[in-house]
């Protein structure tokens, strides 16, 4: 995983609550056995006017001009501004893969679905939870000003608006460190290998039926 560095990124507003993972990346694209290349199909049903197929050349497809990410002013957006319960629905990690592959580094919303929250951090995507009224205000500001960009500073847990306003956010220390240092979870967990083995032995003695002898 890449280290998460402070950046200033253009903000794209997605004004819609309960954005589910089927909407983020429709199921026909889940057939891939790779982790990359999902960006062109991010929000496929909203973004294109036709029905997308896997392995298709998306540059030839008709775009939906009304969809926010198709508007030139949001072309290079790196921050997605969203509404409540973003990422609800399935556990597909293809959703953060697609968002990241598209170029998003951070998403701001009043709330996120639990599984999506986990999946995003594991892929270096920062999720920032702000109060509903703060999000509302950002929506207005983004709308008003072309090229609206936020300075996203994970180290200090804050974002800075173009007017210099500072919005602070919470994130747990473990996730923060993993992102900042680009750490691989598995490597960290395996440092506790002895503790896991010791637990496993005790667990097996106490509840042997949980350990089925394979045929």
């Amino acid at each position: 995983m890449k280290k998460f560095e402070r950046f200033e990124g253009v903000v794209a507003p997605l004004d819609r609550a309960n954005v589910d993972t089927d909407l983020i990346i429709p199921k026909q694209f889940l057939k891939s056995i790779k982790r990359t290349g999902f960006g062109v199909n991010l929000f496929d049903e909203l973004r294109y006017l036709d029905e997308g197929q896997p392995d298709q050349d998306c540059s030839q497809r008709p775009l939906n001009p009304d969809f926010v990410l198709n508007q030139p002013r949001y072309e290079n957006a790196e921050v997605l501004l969203a509404r409540r319960n973003f990422g609800c629905g399935s556990s597909r990690e293809h959703a953060p893969w697609a968002l990241e592959d598209f170029g998003f580094k951070a998403i701001i919303a009043p709330s996120f679905a639990d599984i999506f929250y986990n999946n995003a951090f594991k892929n270096g995507l920062l999720l920032i939870t702000l109060e509903e009224d703060e999000v509302e205000r950002l929506f207005q500001e983004v709308e008003e000003r072309e090229g609206y960009a936020l300075d996203v500073d994970l180290e200090n847990q804050r974002i800075v608006t173009p007017r210099g306003e500072i919005l602070e956010f919470q994130v747990d220390d473990f996730r923060k460190q993993c992102l900042l240092e680009g750490l691989d979870d598995i490597g960290i967990t395996l440092k506790d290998e002895d503790a896991i083995r010791a637990f496993e032995e005790k667990h097996r003695q106490r509840r042997p039926w949980l350990f089925r002898q394979t045929a």
Binding site: D22, P54, R92, N123, D172, D173
Partner: protein
């Protein structure tokens, strides 16, 4: 000190280490694998030159992509026409062989939807931690297990370390008290719960479902309820262990035997919340207030009783809700205040990890028996949850009832629940579906899903539009038959 909730107990029994920042390592007893969310995890293992920690904790079966017509299935993997789907199923097979993981392959009679297969085999036991790269893993919580849906990185993490990094959730109890009316099923209960607390109502919580109406449910019904915890925002749903649980498990292939069985049962009896346990949130519903439910929108919380009507967005409590209701009605092609019973249907889908178990099929068959699917219905299909469910249904003659009524009787798999295989809705088509998600495009591009119980789906198939199962003549229709 106050007592522990069921969730507290399960958490404590599996806690390996707890870090200062609140993150913990939780030991995982069972991982279920399917073809969609595992290939990248295996690939990760391979790249890092890691081995699975404990092979016997894993069990795999393909389900999401498999075709469901008898003809295609007769050909095994080569019956999968879509080359990309085929690669995915083949990749699961190859990975299971390479690493030595037990797999029920496409034409194994034990193959099926992971959340049907696990419990059916006794591979899901009370007191286990169960994970699967699928958000409906909460299903297994019906057994007093701690079951999480996880992402692919976590699948890899569990394979490599036998642990999950987790933070303890808050405790929520949803109580359903009283007796369910005739024709009101587990599916209606859970849809009513979601309608009440919303799709984010359970975010951050582990939900325990309790109360006399929950206790009266069979294991199949309990699985239906826990299955949809995620549609209420909760990663985890669970129900305490009682005789119903223990009776279901006895003699299943992976269940403990002989003296281990006695010890296990004694241990499982403790898998209930202590009487003095406290919950961070308690929600109570009266069973008598719940009628058969139908979803009208594009989120499972957009649901109402069969006697109700489509809401008017103008009456929404705030702007965000108003916008989403307006958009939902537009997508669904429905009018404000339209009666639910006036919604006409094009297709019927009885299946999915929510409602494809034997009891679900019996309930639907009771309604369909001796009737005919309406001419206006283009396709009505019944897709059993596993090969074993299918076999049992055939032994009971349910397949004949469905076929005579004009339903298609299919091979097991996820099928039109998410339409990754060839079973899907066309744009604008309305479907009465026993699955769990009615998101835009879920069952096919532009498709319009209405979530209902199996009995309601069967009744809608016959009428061509939604009807109240309670109003059907000779309505003993919906009481599950004793096996």
């Amino acid at each position: 000190m106050s007592g522990q909730t069921l969730y507290d107990k399960l958490w404590e029994q599996h806690l390996v280490t707890q870090r200062d920042d609140g993150t913990a390592l939780i030991y995982i007893d069972r991982q279920l694998l399917h073809e969609v969310t595992s290939p990248q995890a295996f690939e990760g293992l391979r790249l890092a030159k890691r081995k699975p920690w404990r092979l016997d904790a894993n069990l795999a079966t393909p389900d999401h992509n498999v075709p469901t017509t008898v003809k295609e299935r007769a050909e095994g993997n080569s019956g999968i026409k879509d080359p990309v789907s085929l690669i995915q199923v083949q990749t699961l097979d190859d990975n299971c062989v390479e690493y030595g993981i037990e797999e029920f392959k496409i034409n194994d009679p034990r193959q099926g939807i992971v959340h049907v297969v696990g419990p059916e085999q006794g591979a899901t036991l009370p007191g286990m931690t169960v994970v699967c790269g699928d958000s409906h893993t909460a299903t297994h919580g019906a057994f007093g297990a701690l079951a999480h849906g996880i992402g692919t990185s976590e699948v890899e993490h569990v394979m490599a370390t036998q642990c999950l990094l987790a933070q303890k959730m808050k405790n929520m109890q949803v109580r359903v008290e009283g007796e369910l009316g005739l024709g009101v099923t587990a599916k209606d209960v859970v849809l009513a719960i979601i309608g009440k607390i919303g799709t984010a109502g359970g975010t951050g919580y582990a939900i325990e479902f309790a109360g006399s109406a929950i206790e009266s449910l069979s294991m199949e019904g309990r699985m239906t309820v826990c299955n949809m915890a995620i549609e209420a925002g909760a990663r985890v749903g669970m129900i305490a262990v009682d005789d119903t649980t223990i009776d279901y498990i006895g003699n299943r292939p992976f269940a403990p035997t002989a003296e281990q069985w006695e010890a296990a049962v004694a241990d499982w009896r403790n898998l209930v919340s202590d009487p003095d346990a406290t919950f961070d949130k308690v929600v109570t519903l009266k069973a008598e207030d719940i009628e058969p439910q139908v979803s009208w929108g594009t989120s499972p919380e957009m649901v109402t009783g069969i006697s109700g009507q489509v809401p008017d967005p103008k009456a929404a409590p705030d702007d965000t809700v108003q916008r989403s209701h307006t958009r939902a009605l537009e997508y669904m092609g429905l009018q404000p205040n339209q009666k639910i019973t006036d919604i006409k249907l094009d297709k019927i889908f009885i299946g999915s990890c929510t409602n494809s178990r034997i009891e679900d099929l019996r309930e639907a068959a009771k309604v369909a028996k001796g009737k005919k699917v309406a001419d206006s219905i283009m396709l009505a299909m019944v897709v059993p949850g596993s090969g074993l469910v299918k076999r049992q249904a055939e032994e009971e003659g349910l397949d004949k009832i469905f076929i005579e009524a004009g339903f298609e009787w299919r091979e097991p798999g996820c099928s039109m629940c998410l339409a990754m295989n060839a079973d899907k809705l066309g744009a604008g088509e309305h479907c009465a579906s026993t699955s769990n998600r009615n998101f835009e495009g879920r069952q096919g591009y532009g498709g319009r899903t209405h979530l209902v119980s199996p009995a309601m789906a069967a009744a809608a198939a016959i009428a061509g539009h939604f009807v109240d199962v309670r109003s059907l003549p000779a309505n003993d229709a919906t009481h599950a038959q004793e096996a």
